[in-house]
């Protein structure tokens, strides 16, 4: 059964058509990669799915329910959770508080949500930062915090926008392992990334976007051979 269905999603900013008629169906537990040049509309697609932006036309069906036009917090509460390309922790709050807010959506009791938050923080490997201000975390730590806040909502599907950007290669490997873990635990993942090695290693299917529309969709090995993809995004030397 598909967990997410995008039906003819379009989004215009004034005259700019950032999304053009995107139609995709994502089965449960899939690791779904998305690539495309800067400005292709990947982030806009996530925003429209997760309720930060209303689509100009089209529908978003999540878990059998039409969630088009739902507010962002309601979508997140229902189990469709995204992360941001630019990380936005609550800087003047501790790591624990940052994650507790998310847990609270699941556990109404303050004590329970804090316990749950601490477990999630342990899981992403941030335990030693538990009571530190999130503003003091290094970039890799912020990425983990972003993941922790998303996981604390116990998502059914995670939309990850460039979680590996800004990390040096040695920092990427443990995050990639973590993503594998999360996926293995049954979470469906949509994954926007420019780091091709990670995209190839993780994606089960790969969507290439170009100028707001689908350029091609298929298994990664086929997609990267596609001359149009090479032309539009990868370049000859890939």
């Amino acid at each position: 059964m598909s967990i997410l269905k995008l039906e003819g999603l379009s989004k215009s900013f004034g005259g700019l058509r950032a999304l053009r008629d995107v139609t995709v169906e994502i089965p449960e537990r899939e690791f779904f990669g998305i690539i495309g040049p800067n400005g292709a509309g990947k982030t806009t697609l996530f925003s429209v799915i997760a309720g930060q932006l209303g689509p100009t036309s089209g529908r978003v069906v999540f878990d059998g329910q039409d969630i088009t036009g739902w507010s962002a917090d309601k979508v997140a509460g229902a189990g469709l959770v995204r992360t941001f390309q630019l990380m936005r922790p609550f800087e003047s709050m501790t790591v624990l508080d940052n994650v507790s807010i998310a847990s609270h959506r699941r556990f109404r009791s303050t004590a329970k949500s804090r316990d749950h938050a601490a477990e999630v923080i342990e899981r992403v490997g941030l335990s030693q930062y538990l009571n530190k201000m999130s503003g003091t975390l290094p970039t890799a730590g912020l990425k983990r915090l972003e993941l922790a806040r998303a996981l604390a909502l116990e998502p059914k599907i995670l939309l990850l926008d460039e979680v590996l950007a800004g990390l040096v290669p040695t920092e990427r490997a443990p995050i990639i392992d973590l993503l594998r873990d999360i996926h293995r635990d049954g979470v469906t993942v949509m994954f926007v990334e420019h780091i091709m090695a990670a995209v190839m290693a993780l994606s089960e299917r790969l969507l290439v976007m170009h100028e707001g529309a689908e350029l091609t969709l298929g298994v990664p090995e086929d997609v990267v051979q596609d001359p149009r993809v090479v032309e539009a995004y990868l370049g000859e030397d890939f």
Partner: protein, 341 residues
């Protein structure tokens, strides 16, 4: 066109910092508070020595100033909270204060309730009022990038409240007598008991508000929305609901202030107006959005106003308030407790 190559910043791994739970005031704020205490203390000492005023009179003004400042702080607390979370300057803060006082007046005279019981009943009424204003009107005009529309709404609300009060209660000054009479001696100054109660109440609300913000999940959500509303909605916080709660809490602050000060206020529909200006001065002085800033700023301005009136009678003391306001802003544009941006 981008070919999949991005310029990315590399991160610096593990900055070590000792793990310490957050405190009410960080070190920088403690230093500022200590500095202010030293400056004010020195000014007071100088006044006792060379001020040319009888020391009894000076003591009386100092105590009166602190007590008045407590009420200022309470009104400013609501204003700074609303600004910090919603990014709106609530021009109706003073009018809402007047409204609270008239509700207390109504309950005390028409229903014959005890003043403090009437004040307690006014609190949920004003919370509901603030909540309603935010959820029915302000939430609709916020969100798009314009800042003028919410401002116009609070300005309009202020005019609306004042004129409705004028229609219902008329412009003639009214007053409510406090059930507790008399005055007591506080370190050499004679203080009306109702003013003492008002100060105590203001302090209690400030402490309660700080605890709510620090310890409860609601407080956590309010702080998260203040820090970053988009991020808060992302982790499942209903931002509009938090906005409404915050405006309600801001209204609660003036409800308590109004209930506590009505017995020593000559009540007319425009009585609260001067408080909008003063609270604005206090909030900017203390640092926009800062709770300790509003508290310290309120006490400070209360002191400046009463002690200043010893030397500059009439509206001269207000002149002094604005003079000091400009001086502090010149030295610290972000306000006493504001973060540098």
């Amino acid at each position: 066109m981008n070919r999949g190559v991005r310029v990315t910043q590399t991160s610096t791994e593990t900055k070590e910092a000792p793990a310490a739970p957050p405190r009410l005031l960080d070190n920088r704020q403690l230093r500022i508070a200590a500095g202010l205490v030293v400056v004010v203390g020195a000014a007071v000492a100088l006044m006792y020595l060379f001020g040319g005023q009888p020391s009894g009179l000076l003591t009386q003004s100092l105590i009166t100033g602190v007590l008045l400042g407590g009420v200022y702080a309470l009104v400013s607390l609501g204003l700074t909270l609303i600004f910090g979370v919603l990014g709106i300057v609530n021009f109706a803060q003073g009018a809402m204060l007047t409204m609270s006082m008239y509700i207390v007046f109504f309950l005390a005279t028409e229903w014959g309730l005890n003043l403090y019981l009437a004040a307690a009943l006014t609190v949920p009424v004003m919370f509901g009022f603030g909540w309603l204003v935010q959820s029915t009107v302000l939430n609709r005009v916020m969100g798009d990038s314009t800042h003028e529309r919410p401002l116009l709404v609070t300005l309009g609300l202020s005019l609306l409240i004042i004129n409705v009060l004028l229609m219902v209660f008329g412009g003639r000054p009214v007053s409510v007598a406090s059930p507790v009479e008399g005055s007591i001696n506080v370190i050499g100054a004679l203080v009306d008991v109702p003013r003492l109660i008002a100060f105590g109440g203001a302090l209690a609300v400030a402490v309660a508000l700080t605890l709510i913000l620090r310890k409860t999940t609601l407080g956590l959500a309010i702080r998260a929305v203040a820090a970053n509303d988009v991020g808060a909605s992302l982790v499942g916080v209903n931002v509009k609901r938090i906005y409404a709660m915050t405006f309600g809490v801001g209204a609660t602050c003036v409800a308590v202030a109004g209930g506590l000060m009505v017995s020593f206020t000559s009540l007319v529909p425009s009585a609260g107006e001067q408080f909008t200006t003063l609270a604005f001065v206090i909030v900017v002085l203390g640092g926009l959005g800062s709770i300790p800033g509003a508290l310290v700023g309120g006490l400070f301005i209360g002191l400046v106003q009463t002690v200043g009136s010893l030397y500059l009678p009439g509206s001269g003391s207000l002149l002094l308030v604005f003079g000091i306001f400009l001086l502090v802003l010149f030295l610290r544009p972000q306000g006493l407790f504001g973060a540098k941006s």
